[in-house]
């Protein structure tokens, strides 16, 4: 079964084509890595799948259901059940670590309210952030912030997780450590992963399959 399918998707900004007739399939549980130079449309592709951008043409399907087609979002982002780690992490500055996870869990319909605290503890343990549950983002180190962003993306049982160069701002040692953490999380939770990076090393380490994108 296909987790994500792009059918001849094109996208332009201010008349400049970023993605041109891209077709792509990602199977369930797969770890797909998109590699390519800046401006080749990697981030745009993730944002199209997430529903944060609309395709100019073509269609996008998630789990066999068309979610966007020809400038129309048929399923809004919040109903696509995706997790996403943004390049600049975008942790909400007014929330603690646990409030980040609570916010994501509040809208998880698979989970009863009484089950939320246990799920939160489980994920915090998984990303080794249980000790920092009440900390705000500004007080955390870069690696800790990265793990909070990961935890937020996976806490609500998403079937698909999108990661947009999540480790680009970290030093090589921390990057290698977090790559292993991502692999461990994916193995434990079983989500489909679409991962964007500049680094061939990261691509080789993370991906079952890599796609090299070129500017349109």
């Amino acid at each position: 079964m296909m987790a994500v399918e792009l059918q001849s998707v094109s996208k332009a900004y201010d008349g400049r084509r970023v993605i041109e007739a891209l077709s792509l399939t990602v199977t369930r549980g797969e770890r797909l890595v998109l590699v390519g130079p800046s401006g080749c449309g990697k981030t745009t592709m993730l944002r199209l799948v997430a529903g944060l951008e609309l395709p100019d043409s073509g269609a996008i399907a998630i789990n066999g259901r068309i979610v966007a087609q020809h400038r129309r979002n048929l399923v809004p982002p919040e109903n696509r059940h995706l997790g996403m780690v943004f390049q600049d992490l975008v942790l909400w500055p007014h929330m603690t670590v646990s409030e980040h996870l609570e916010f994501a869990l509040r809208y998880d319909r698979q989970l009863k309210p009484v089950e939320r605290p246990a799920r939160m503890r489980e994920i915090l343990d998984m990303v080794r952030m249980a000790d920092c549950a009440e900390a705000r983002p500004a007080t955390l180190s870069g690696g800790q912030q990265q793990r909070v962003a990961l935890a937020r993306a996976v806490v609500a049982h998403p079937e698909i997780v999108l990661m947009d160069e999540p480790l680009s701002s970290l030093d090589p040692e921390l990057r290698a450590y977090l790559c292993r953490e991502i692999l461990r999380l994916q193995a434990e939770l079983g989500f489909t992963l679409i991962y964007v990076t500049h680094s061939r090393d990261e691509a080789n380490l993370i991906g079952h399959r890599s796609i090299v994108m070129q500017p349109a």
Binding site: A50, L52, P77, G83, F86, D88, V90, H94, A104, Y107
Partner: protein, 522 residues
């Protein structure tokens, strides 16, 4: 230079005022305070009225301004720009002109005729005089400040924060749990600003005969010529302002989350209203018509008598010319000082940047009458009396009161100029003044022009401070209108108000042209 200027027109006058209130004949005494505050029955009602009016105005301005700011900044409601311009128009006018507008609209002789209502005992002008009228006018005058600040803060929110929320929930959840909490401290600041501006307002409560504390201060000064009592009466206003600003500083320190300046290239996320677009636009238009357009139209209509404008020019031509001249000079000085203090604050160029920032904000939020009295306390003394008797006092008052505006605009403008531009010039060997003149100013030119224009507008509309410090025979147009309100014909007063509005609008047009030409050059 900035520190010296702010000390001369702001800090030292305040200290001189405090000194004069506690020293008489060379010895320490609290007699003037005892005299002023010895009669609680006389002292407390104006204090209570001031606090009630300021608090209600802040609440109303927030309840109206935040939703309108959200509507105009975050949604795809049609006619956003004209609505924004219309809703913010009252900010260009002295609040007491809005009081005149509402009076014209609601008086028995109003052009739409309230005689029938008067005969049935429902005359709207009855409740206009007092707290409801003051609240109506001040909420109308200050809600634009909340709208503008809400829009500015919304533009400074990182859209990625909202997108991260959109993956989990719809726009309602994102707004209530992410966007509004992130800008909540900015909204709190807007509320505080409105509270302080309403607390210091003199013109509206005087016109609508609602006894508030700043009027009491002014009365002590102008009616009884009792300077010590005026200074003593002004001190609580200084205390309240200082207390609230210190509280705000302590509470907001390190909590302003990326909201100090907008990042270049950031695009605000727009909420599609769908089928609510047209109803939302109609509601906003209706609100703008009732609160802005109708009062202004009533002003114009009531000025349309055969000789009103001829008489206005006859009686106030000098004041019109002086207002334009003083506002032009004041705006130029404000732009220079505002730029330097903004540079100081943005780049933390000197250790005293926080003091400068706080002092300018304190002076901005202080009642104009207090600033006027403080300036007189410092400058009315032997040897420098020629300064006290000159129009420099009016410029000093403008600089003291409005430097915060120019410096805040500069800070926002410099936030969009990469520091590396100046660093590159520094590495090329350019001295500081050359870097500022040839690199920073051109890069921040729209902000500099905006600072001049905003300074001009606020100097043009100033009443509180200029009413206290203007030299004999040198009154400005707002002061002239205010004095004519007591015994001038309503059509004459309305005509002068229209003249003030027209001059301000012409200045705005010039601002727009300058901005456009600056944009073309860039």
């Amino acid at each position: 230079m900035v520190v010296f200027a702010l000390a001369v027109v702001g800090l030292l006058p305040l200290l001189a005022m405090l000194y004069k209130s506690v020293f008489a004949d060379g010895r320490w005494t609290l007699s003037v305070y005892e005299h002023v505050f010895s009669n609680p029955a006389q002292y407390w009602p104006p204090v209570r009225n001031s606090l009630t009016l300021a608090a209600l105005t802040a609440v109303c301005a927030l309840l109206l301004g935040v939703p309108l700011g959200l509507l105009l900044a975050k949604t795809d409601v049609p006619l956003r720009r004209p609505l924004m311009v219309t809703l913010c128009a009252p900010l260009l006018l002295p609040p007491y002109i809005l009081a005149i507008c509402w009076f014209n609209l609601m008086s028995r002789s109003a052009w739409w005729g309230t005689d029938n209502l008067s005969q049935s005992g429902l005359a709207p002008s009855i409740w206009l005089f007092g707290l409801p009228g003051c609240l109506l006018v001040l909420a109308g005058a200050l809600t634009p400040a909340v709208i503008i600040l809400t829009v500015v803060y919304l533009h400074a929110v990182n859209p990625r924060h909202e997108e991260a929320g959109r993956l989990v929930t719809g726009w309602r959840g994102v707004l209530t749990k992410i966007t509004l909490p992130i800008i909540s401290r900015g909204i709190l600041f807007a509320g505080l600003l409105v509270f302080l501006l309403a607390l210091g307002e003199v013109g509206v409560p005087m016109f609508l005969r609602y006894p508030v504390f700043p009027v009491e201060t002014l009365t002590q000064f102008s009616a009884f010529y009792d300077f010590g009592a005026a200074a003593a009466a002004a001190t609580p206003l200084l205390g309240v302002t200082l207390l609230l600003l210190v509280g705000e500083r302590l509470y907001l320190r390190d909590k302003t989350y990326e909201l100090l300046a907008t990042a270049p290239g950031r695009k605000i996320l727009v909420i599609p209203l769908g089928r609510w677009r047209v109803p939302a636009a109609l509601a906003a238009i209706l609100f703008a018509v009732i609160t802005v357009v109708l009062p202004l139209v009533s002003l114009v209509v009531s000025s349309l008598s055969p000789f009103a404008y001829a008489e206005a020019l006859n009686k106030a031509a000098g004041s019109i010319g002086r207002s334009i001249l003083f506002a032009g000079v004041g705006a130029t000085v404000l732009t220079l000082l505002g730029f330097l203090s903004g540079y100081l604050i943005q780049y933390r160029a000197l250790a005293v940047w926080r003091v400068v920032d706080t002092l300018t904000l304190l002076l901005f939020t202080l009642p104009g009458t207090v600033i006027g009295i403080a300036l007189i306390a410092l400058w009315n003394r032997p040897g420098i009396g020629w300064i006290y008797a000159s129009t420099a006092m009016v410029i000093f008052a403008y600089v003291a009161q409005y430097t915060a505006l120019a410096s805040r605009i500069t800070v926002a403008s410099l936030g969009n100029v990469p520091r590396s531009l100046e660093e590159a010039a520094q590495m090329a060997g350019a001295p500081w003044h050359a870097r500022v003149l040839h690199i920073i100013v051109p890069a921040a030119l729209p902000g500099v022009i905006a600072a001049w224009m905003v300074g001009f507008i606020f100097c043009m509309r100033d009443l509180g401070a200029s009413m206290v410090v203007y030299p004999a025979g040198q009154e400005t147009l707002p002061v002239r209108i205010f004095t004519l309100m007591a015994n001038g014909a309503p059509s004459l007063v309305s005509a002068l108000c229209v003249v003030l509005v027209v001059v301000t609008v012409i200045a705005l047009g010039a601002f727009r042209m300058l901005l456009q030409s600056a944009g073309h050059r860039r």
